[in-house]
Each structure stands twice: as structure tokens, then as C-alpha cells.
Amino acid sequence: MKELLEIKNLSVSFNTLKGEIQAVRDVSLSLHEGEVLAIVGESGCGKSVLCKSIMKLLHDNAYIKSGSIIVDGVDITHYGRKDMERLRGRVFSMVFQDPMTSLNPTIPIGEQIAEAVRVHNPKMKKAEVYERVISMMDLVGIPDAEDRYKLYPYSFSGGMRQRSVMAIALASEPKILLADEPTTSLDVTIQAQILDLLKSLQKKLLTATILVSHDLGVVSRVADRVAVMYAGKIVELGTVEDIFYEPRHPYTWGLMRSLPSLAKKGQELYTIPGMPPTLINPPKGDAFACRNEYALAIDYEEMPPMFKISDTHYAATWLLDERAPKIAPPVGSIR
């Protein structure tokens, strides 16, 4: 499979009054054509920042410290505003978390989609644009598209707005779709519909998708591959089966075990002790060590490299070193 997007040793930092926040630390990742890659992690682990830094949507106090972003074989790490404007929408496009605020309240939905169509096809005729907008609205499942064209966002419910946002994002047929927690602010039943839509669109259009989520359930529903992020780093990367059935990183174990849906009633729910570290002065060695009951002495000294487990499965923990004691994973491979 062709690699559409390749991120090499990317580090992104923010300058704040409190100091440098190292939001993304040395992340390497690749996205293949037509796959869904999910990035999971807790809030503040840098998953959103990673997404936005690909599209250069970060605020001006953020900067790429090192590493490179390669899209379709072209290095875009140092692209300026004009160059990015050319790429956005056509090459990659984004769906945001809150559909209530991500649409302009004073412009009709249809117009907002039309705008997205026109950006990269300035010569398109009015009727053609209209046609395309209607077909996009049909595609994302907004019924009676022609009547809804002129409606303003306030008369759309959350789910319908998220569908509109997806229509906007897909209007110029991007190769990569970045979805930043697209269902977090929606209800469960609506969430299911949007996820199904996302999956079916992805099948139909073969758009490579990066899905950012904190919900392991959502991830298991749509993802092909999963990257688990913790404190700005990717700690485990693999296919969805790898991650859910044979997790190797203690943090992934912790995440799985603390899910109430997997816990038995009456049993104590497992909790990961402590809190995630601040990213201003991240601890030396493995950032997860101080919350990890399986931590090795070296975890407090040295950052673990990515260990290869199989062709698709990687994890960054010293437990995979051949010198480390063998530990039976507390979760996975049961079902």
C-alpha cells in the first residue's frame, strides 16, 4: 500500500508563560491509502495537536521543533500560509469536535458547502456547484437536501450539523480526512449513526482517515490501525486486533482494565494511579513509569525505543527488551 502521509520524528512545542509545553514528542507515523488510523489517548496527550500540526492549524505560539511531515512524497514541514491554503481542502481536510461551534451561524449550510466546492474549482459554473452541493448533502445523509440548502445552522440538530461538517470536509475530495473527536459531543445513538456514516463514506470514497478519539469503543468500531498516545509520544502502534487483543504496553493495559464496560460487577475497577505528567518538564525516561506497576528501573532512566513485535505491531516499553522479565499481560487474548 502506498503511504499517503508520513510523519518522521515530529516534535511540536508551545511557548507559554509557564515555559515550553512539549505537546508532541518525537512521533513517527504513517498513513496508508484507504485506511482508518485511530489515535487514542487521554486529554492533553497531544493527539489533537498532532492532527492540527499536520494541517498547520495551530496557533502562532506553536512551532514544529524538529522532524518532518511528508504528504504524498512532498515535504510540507516548512510550507507557508499560501502553500497550505492550496493543500487544505484538496489534500487534507478536517472534522472538528463540536459541530455546534464549527459552522458559521450566519451563513446557510448549503452556501458553506458551496464555498468548499468553489475554493478549489473557481471556474465551476453556478449550477454545477449547486448540483455538487446537493449530491454532497445526499451523500452524508441529509434528507431533502434541496429544501435544506438555504437553512441556517441553528435549525440543524447536532448530528445533522456534524453531517454538514463532513460534507464540507469532503467537498473537494481530499485524500486525507482528519477527524478530531467527531462524535464526542453527540449522543450515543447519534454517535452510532455518524460512525457508521464515517465508515461507509470511507469505504465509498477510499479516503484515508485519521480518527482522534479518547473512546476505545469508538476506535474499535471504525479503525483499521490504532496508535496509543501518552504524554506526547506514541506508546503503542498496531492493527486494531493487535491493540485490543494483544496489547503490549502497560498503559494500554491500564486503559483497557479501567473501562467499566469490561469490568465485572462487584469487582473493583482497575485504576491507573496518579495523573498524567505535565508536558512542560516531562519526566526523564518513560513518562508512564511513575504510574506503572510493572515499571523497570531503566524506565526511570532512559526513554524506551519502539520495539517491533510483528510487522504491524510496535510498542515503546522496556518490557519488550530481551533482558526484561517476562510478564503475562493482564488483559487481552482472552476472547
Binding site: 491554503e85 464549527s102 450566519t106 468548499a116
Partner: protein
Amino acid sequence: MRHKNIFLYYIQKFIVFVLSVLVLSVVVFYVSRLAPGDPLYSYYGDRVEKMSDSEREWAENQLGLNEPIHIQYIHWFANAIRGNFGISYKYKTDVIKIIGGRLPNTLILGGIGFVLIYVLALGLGILCTWYEDKWPDRLLCKIGTVTSCIPEFWLSIALIFLFSIKLKLLPSSGAYSIGNGENVIDRISHLTLPMTVVVVSHLWYYAYMIRNKLLEEVRTEYVLLAKSKGLSKKNILFKHCLRNIVPSYLSIMAISVPHILGGTYIVETVFSYPGIGTLSYESARYQDYNMLMALCILSGALVILCNIVVQIVNERIDPRMKKDEGLQVSEVIEIG
């Protein structure tokens, strides 16, 4: 709000306007009656001092001054509605006539100043937003803060001193040279200094407001979506953000009417420009209450009118204000 009958909607707004002006007139009337000084003065002037007691009583009866204050108000109001605001104590003529003669001058100064302020404020606001926190923005903010801190009267004097007395370039007072009222160039030269003061001393206040509104707007989430679909910075700022601040822009305009009007009054006084401002200044000095009342009500009514017009316009153009209208398009949850 959706009104099936658009006519009813305007009637409603009109009633609000009339009621507001009514309340305003009540307040102004009572306040002016509270003021020290004999109300007879405002009708008979210096003659009051020479009146005997019986003459006085007759005059008071004639004018209804013996009656309770609310009856007096009704009389006064009945006259006012016919355009009779009484006689000016200073000018000994109908108040309305004097005002009518002065009004155009103020409208020219205030009106053109108002338009200039708003056009320039929008331009500066956009410029500052485009270059937020870069040098053009910082420089403009610094200059703007300084100009907004200079009181109008002092700026006027400084400009008079510089341009009229030292450089002898521009006239320092009046609306035109005597006998030269029809000469446009003469008028413009008289207008230049006062207009400069009106614009300079108000401009930044509003430009800064618009800048802040725009900055608020570019911090919203939809800008990110617009950006991610590939719109250029220019398009986002002009097509999305600017459009969304139009209602607040109009509201600011409406609120600023009394503010700019007040500023014009001060400038008029310093430049002895024959407008409403000098008139109100004089009428206050000479306790010409009939005049002062009429001026207050006139200015107030103008401002209230502007407010209501802006309200109507905003309700028509801003879809955010029509939220209750129409049906909600939502997902259908299949049960079963």
C-alpha cells in the same frame, strides 16, 4: 421573533419609540421644573422683575403655573406636539425656529463626522485584525490610545493655536465668513478643523471596539473549519468574520450617536460654530430652560430612533436572532 404581519411588527416598534420619547419628555420636564429660577422668566424675561404681585398672579394663571405639575406637563405637551416648545428667553423667539436655523450646521458637522468615523474605524479595525500583534497593529494601537486620551476641547485649542494663530492657514471660528455663506470652499475651510477634532478624538474608541469584536470573531471555531476547507485568510476575514460582526457594528453605531453628538457639541462651542451645541451651551448659561428642554428631547428622540432602526435592521439580517423560527432538522432515532 416571527411576526406573521409585518405591519404589526412596525406598529409595535413605533409604539416603543413613542413611549420612550414620552417618558423622556416627562423626565426632562420634571427635571427642568426642579431647576432653580423662576419659570416665569422663561416666558417674560427681565420684565418679571418689574411685575407687581397681581400682574404676576395673572401671568402665572395665564400660563397655568399655579396648577399641579402634571397638569402643567399636559399643557406643555399639548403645545409641544404641535411644535410649540415655547419661547426662547434669550432670543425672544420660538424655540423651534432657532433650532431649525442651527440644525443643518450640526447635521453637517456631526453627520459627515459620523460617517467618516465609521468608515475609518472599520478600515482600521480590519487592518489591526489582519496584522494582529504585528507592528502595524501595535503602532496603530499606540497612536490610537494617545489620540483617544486627548480631550476634545484641548485638541481644538491646540489646533487653533497651531493652524489659525501661528500658521494662519485656517479660520478658527464660525461656519463661514460673514457674507460668504454660499461659498463652498469657504465653508469647507471652516469645517476642516472642527471635523478633524470630531473624527480624531472619537475614531480610535470605535476602531478599537471593532478590532476587539473582530478579534473575538477570529477566535471562534468556525474559522478553523473555514481554514481547513482551504479558504484563504482574506476570504475568511472578509466573507465570514466581517459578516458576523455587522450586527454588533450597527449596534455600536447606534449607541455612539449620543456620544459623538456630545463631542460635536463641545467642538462647536470651542470653535463658536453656530450649531445645536453652542445653542445648548448658551441656553444652559442663561438658564433658557425652554430651549434646553427642546434640545434634550430632540437629541434624545434622534438617538432612540437610531436605536430602534438598528434593532429592526439587526433582527432582519441576523439569522441568529430568529432562532425560534422554523423547524428543527434532526436525526431520526429508529426505535425497535
